[in-house]
């Protein structure tokens, strides 16, 4: 064995203080194949990949790459050997251009050892064109949307001409259209014999693109199977260790009076005359392509960015929302889209991150009630099956999905009437995902009103009572649950919707 595999990892073990992230796991990847790595949040997927590229040194284990035993000690070495990685947490240099980011650390040098900017620009342009990614190489990274940032990272990883490319949840920030684009790119790479390790929580993707599937659970290798010989349900069972029947457990909730009404919301250049209503007990899905203005609407409603025109009414009262604080005061909560930038406070503890939005309701006479805070944290931990060695753990050290769970808790603890969730299950495993969906359903039944932005059509279709589809900053259509079909939504999202539904 060995010769005809690109990569063989054997008996890999890696521990962090208080966490055994990997115990004696193995992974074998064939050339020109897409190998999906699946498992719950905190199962150890990212950790194994970081071991592979030399970011972590395992206590135990052997790696054979291209038929040779190797010891990989840092990422540069991995890159030189032909292994590149798209990281789960995007980390671009915000003030550099797209080209500078792609060539970071290996800038083409010209005369006098200075950076040959022209060449760098030209090569980036050629790369992006080859991959059919429509981004100007001169754009400064911080001006790119999350999705475009992700596309740049993808391009960067490919530009190394590696024989193995690791993609750690590359599609968590992009919509179906870019996913399809990425898959086209992956197929071309495959044809050239490049192997790909693909980490995702999205079942559809796995069956579309993967040749082999490896499942991890709690840092252990559970199984490796060809994708053609398994199905959704058995995969889920392997991942969570039990049967999981209902993926979208939306139950009917009594729809009550209007709690939020938005009229003529406009933010110059990004949102144009958007109006909608939200009722008690309702889940309103917000769909649309990337850049359609969904997040921008939310930012306006929640007071993160100023609006240029429009009226917001909460429970029949006209309100003036100038800051998130105002929004929270009026009973709103917002789980933001970009976990790292606007969500977690990286160096702070899980406890702090969970409690930050509701501290004032957990204090007496100005002092925090630590006992109740600890009890609350413990309850949340069980409710969302949060994997963390303790509440004092620095949140940055949790797996991506577990960070997301902490943020969901943060907002539920504010006991809001209106819950706005921007991509709430991004990066969350199937088990926890259906748990969050169940929670949403329950909250709706309790009379809360929910807005859910999602790029995942099945999630939109499965959970929404009504769907508002955005198209180029405007309302492309609003559909009741019974009319909300994939075709209708896609048509409205691309601007081919004749029957403009009444608002």
């Amino acid at each position: 064995m060995g010769e005809d595999n690109v990569l063989v990892m054997e008996h890999i073990s890696k521990a962090f203080p208080g966490v055994q992230a990997l115990s004696d796991v193995q992974l074998t990847v064939r050339p020109g194949s897409v190998h999906a790595l699946m498992g719950e949040n905190g199962a150890g997927k990212s950790t194994l990949m970081k071991v592979l590229i030399g970011m972590y040194i395992p206590e135990e284990g052997e790696i054979t790459f291209l038929g040779r035993k190797v010891k990989i000690e840092n990422t540069q070495q991995a890159l030189r050997m032909g292994i590149s990685m798209i990281h789960q947490e995007l980390s671009p240099e915000p003030y550099m251009t797209v080209a500078e980011n792609i060539f970071l650390g290996r800038e083409p040098l010209g005369r006098f050892g200075l950076i040959d900017k022209k060449k760098m620009m030209a090569e980036t342009k050629a790369l992006l064109e080859r991959l059919e990614i429509d981004i100007d190489p001169n754009t400064v990274m911080r001006n790119l949307s999350v999705a475009n940032t992700q596309m740049v990272e993808i391009a960067k990883a490919i530009s190394y001409d590696s024989s193995l490319i690791i993609m750690d949840e590359p599609t968590s920030a992009i919509t179906e259209r870019e996913v399809a684009h990425l898959f086209r790119i992956i197929r071309t790479l495959k044809d050239k014999g490049v192997a790909i390790i693909y980490i995702t929580h999205k079942m559809d993707e796995v069956f579309q693109i993967a040749d082999d599937i490896t499942v991890f659970r709690d840092g252990r290798h559970i199984a490796t199977v060809p994708a053609s010989q398994t199905d959704r349900n058995s995969l889920i069972a392997m991942m969570v260790g039990r049967e999981l029947t209902n993926l979208f457990p939306k139950e009917d909730a009594p729809i009550g009076e209007v709690v939020l009404s938005v009229r003529g919301l406009t933010r110059n250049g990004v949102v144009d005359d958007v109006s909608f209503e939200l009722r008690r007990g309702e889940i309103l899905g917000l769909a649309g392509l990337m850049g359609a203005g969904r997040t921008e609407v939310i930012e306006g409603v929640f007071g993160i960015k100023p609006i240029d025109a429009g009226e917001i009414t909460v429970k029949g009262k006209r309100v003036d929302i100038k800051s998130p604080r105002d929004a929270i005061r009026h009973g709103m909560a917002l789980l933001t889209e970009d976990r790292k930038l606007t969500g977690i406070m990286g160096v702070l503890s899980v406890r702090d991150n969970m409690m930050i939005a509701s501290l004032s309701s957990y204090s007496k006479a100005g002092f925090l009630n630590k006992r109740i805070i600890d009890e609350t944290c413990a309850k949340e931990k069980t409710r969302l099956e949060l994997k963390t060695p303790s509440m004092d753990q620095v949140i940055r050290l949790l797996s991506g999905g577990n960070q997301q769970k902490v943020l969901v808790s943060r907002w539920l603890l504010t006991v809001p009437d209106i819950l706005i969730l921007d991509e709430p299950t991004r990066g969350i495993d199937v088990g926890a995902k259906s748990e969050i969906h169940r929670l949403m359903s329950k909250l709706a039944q309790e009379g809360k009103a929910i807005i859910m932005v999602s790029s995942e059509l099945p999630e939109i279709l499965g959970m929404s009572d009504r769907v508002l589809v955005m198209h180029e900053g405007r309302v492309g259509g609003i559909f009741d649950r019974k009319d909300a079909t994939q075709e209708n939504i896609m048509r409205a999202a691309t601007g081919h919707n004749e029957l403009m539904a009444a608002v």
Partner: protein, 334 residues
């Protein structure tokens, strides 16, 4: 076979994890103890009750400022103006606490109770903080620039107000820096009191946690409903207030207020915070760490002087220690 090996590694790894965690938390205390031990062996006069109290008294005003700047650094900011604010509040307060026979009497005929100079010093100190905080929060001026401005402006005002030392102060006033309760120097009591109060505030009040949140991720804090502007202004105000308190302590300790006082003390204070584990990138820091950091600086100063080390060498050693502390901090938070 493989499984057994894994088990062993796990145990070993967890042990190392614990050792690391212990060193991360108490490493600086060990360094402090090692330094005390070394100086005690090298110099006879070092480990005496008198000298130890001396050290603590010496760091007391720097410690007060360090506590303020720790909070500021936790929010992700910096305060360079504290030394100048100390001088300004010192000359203002002492001008209101001179005895009538003083050679440099500023206001002949004016006699006010000691509470007046105290309130003036604390009030002006707090006011400089309000200005710093407002510039930073409302006008979005980087903390480095805003407080650098305060550093020169406050020093300028101090010099304009009095270009000579204001001495011969009332006994009540001098008690602040020279008195003692139950045999403990009053400045030391003040320092401990302030440290405990701020420690409790940081750990047990929403405002305290907001300070950490601000440094952890300002955007996330704002979206979570934290009034970030108010927290910023609040923190700089507290830091200013503590600079004012330090101004009172210093001037009453030496029995005069001078416009040149506190020159460079802000750097010692920042050093104490950083040595004590406060991260210049924000979100991390503790008061007790800062106190240990201040003690390390105090012990170093005192011990090296006792050993007759050249003053210039002392600055070199101090500078090196700060850089090393930051390197350790960076590695820890990688």
């Amino acid at each position: 076979m493989a499984l057994k090996a894994t088990g062993e590694t796990r145990d070993k790894n967890q042990q190392w994890g614990r050792v690391n965690a212990f060193l991360g938390k108490y490493g600086i205390v060990l360094i402090l103890l090692a330094m005390i031990l070394a100086f005690s062996l090298l110099s006879e006069g070092f480990f005496t009750a008198r000298n130890i109290f001396n050290i603590i008294r010496q760091i007391s005003f720097m410690g007060l400022i360090a506590i303020g700047v720790t909070m500021v650094i936790i929010t992700g900011g910096i305060d360079l103006g504290s030394g100048s604010v100390l001088a300004l509040t010192a000359v203002l307060a002492t001008s209101l606490a001179q005895i009538q026979t003083s050679a440099t009497l500023k206001y002949p005929g004016l006699e006010v109770p000691v509470i007046v100079p105290i309130v003036v010093a604390l009030g002006v100190g707090a006011l400089t903080g309000v200005i710093n905080g407002s510039l930073i929060a409302k006008f979005k001026i980087p903390p480095f620039i805003a407080t650098l401005g305060m550093m020169t402006v406050a020093r300028g005002f101090a010099l304009i107000y009095s270009n000579k030392p204001l001495s011969q102060l009332t006994p009540e006033y001098n008690f602040i820096g020279q008195g003692a309760l139950f045999g403990i120097p009053f400045p030391v009591i003040l320092l401990i009191l302030v440290a405990v109060v701020i420690h409790v505030m940081l750990n047990n009040t929403p405002f305290g946690r907001y300070i950490y949140a601000l440094g952890g991720n300002e955007q996330a804090a704002r979206i979570s409903g934290v009034n970030t502007d108010r927290v910023k202004i609040g923190v700089y105000t507290l830091a200013g207030l503590l600079s004012g308190l330090a101004g009172l302590v210093v001037s009453s300790r030496v029995g005069s207020g001078q416009p040149g006082q506190g020159m460079g003390i802000e750097l010692d204070a920042i050093a104490a915070a950083v040595i004590g584990g406060t991260s210049l990138s924000g979100g991390i820091g503790t008061i007790w760490g800062t106190i240990v950091g201040a003690l390390i600086i105090g012990v170093l100063d005192n011990g090296l002087i006792l050993l007759n080390v050249d003053q210039y060498w002392i600055t070199i050693v101090k500078g090196t220690i700060i850089v090393v502390a930051v390197i350790i901090d960076q590695r820890k938070n990688r």
